[in-house]
């Protein structure tokens, strides 16, 4: 059995603020995807992570969160794979998202994300599902705006 490994598919390091980052033409060569985002934003707000540009309410999620004074958990339907519940302007966030079986065409796609904002939002984990059997060929992360210096790395994990 081959040793599972990370292979970089694509990366973006922003030299100036941008409202979205898209990884397109994602090859179907791997088992899972890992998206590592270390980012801050120019304004506070919710981000979106959409597969194949699907902006419909086709995503469900459950998350848990600890913000330093309390804990919470919720479920819901959304128009995005929840990358992160909320970005506070200027706070650096590290979000690691694993998307399983992204190229399969016989199942909905599921993702697990771990997020870290040690200043405000805190530590959180999100499990989400995209109710679509299509292979994921693109991922778009959007917010107004990703700040300069934000880094986005997309890896494939070999089976």
């Amino acid at each position: 059995m081959a040793t599972p490994t990370y292979t970089l598919i694509d990366s973006t390091v922003l030299s100036s603020a941008a409202s979205s980052v898209t990884f397109s033409s994602i090859p179907a060569d791997y088992r899972d995807l890992v998206l590592v985002v270390e980012a801050s934003t120019t304004a506070s707000g919710y981000s979106t992570l959409r597969a194949n540009s699907d902006s419909g309410s086709n995503y469900t999620y459950v998350h848990m969160n600890g913000n330093g004074s309390g804990t919470s958990s919720a479920t819901g339907t959304a128009s995005t794979l929840n990358l992160y519940p909320y970005f506070y302007a200027g706070n650096k966030n590290l979000v690691i998202t694993q998307i399983m079986d992204y190229s399969a065409t016989d199942k909905h796609k599921t993702a697990l994300a771990r997020g870290n904002d040690p200043t405000t939002t805190g530590a959180y984990a999100i499990a989400s599902r995209w109710a679509n059997t299509a292979a994921i060929t693109s991922l778009t992360l959007a917010i107004a705006d990703w700040a300069a210096g934000s880094t986005f790395y997309l890896y494939g994990i070999e089976a």
């Binding site: 600890g66 309390g70 650096k92 690691i96």
Partner: protein, 167 residues
């Protein structure tokens, strides 16, 4: 290429080292991943008794933590680098705590972001599951990672350091 094992440290005897340390870390990666399987060489479960040290420092950290113990959850803010809880000698034999640190952009000249996931379990009677969001307010590239400083490690404890590269 991709994800490469840099080094694994295993406590092969009963010397009970105070630190598990990775020195002279390559500077050609993007991120670091540290995995830990650890048991304390003494006592009851050692709740957050050790520290993560970067470049020899256990200062400059801020964190928000989320924990669950099987019956309740809690969240706290902190300004230290507490490492995961470890099982101790009074715990069921062969039970070890597990943890994973993910350190992004470890060579950058920005403050460092760190995610910690860990679980400590003693035969179903004592459980700690922890996820921590860390920042290390230091702009130096990370060249040294060590865990410890307070509670010694039992035999068969291991730590592995991986680098994730962009090639």
């Amino acid at each position: 290429m991709g994800m490469q094992l840099i080094e694994t440290i295993e406590v092969t005897d009963t010397s009970a080292p105070l630190y598990l340390e990775f020195a002279n870390i390559d500077q050609d990666g993007v991120d670091l991943l540290v995995t830990l399987s650890a048991r304390a060489a003494s006592g009851t479960p050692q709740y957050r008794s050790n520290y993560l040290w970067l470049n020899g420092l256990s200062s400059g950290f801020s964190a928000i933590r989320l924990s669950g113990n099987g019956s309740s959850t809690s969240s706290t803010s902190a300004s230290n680098s507490y490492a995961p809880t470890m099982t101790g000698t009074s715990a069921t034999a062969s039970t070890f705590a597990n943890a994973q640190y993910y350190i992004s952009n470890y060579t950058s000249s920005e403050n460092k972001a760190i995610a910690l996931d860990s679980v400590t379990e003693n035969n179903g009677t004592t459980v700690f599951m922890l996820i921590d969001a860390y920042q290390w307010a230091n702009t130096d590239a990370i060249t040294n990672v060590k865990i410890g400083g307070s509670t010694t490690f039992a035999q068969y404890s291991t730590a592995s350091l991986y680098k994730i590269t962009a090639d």
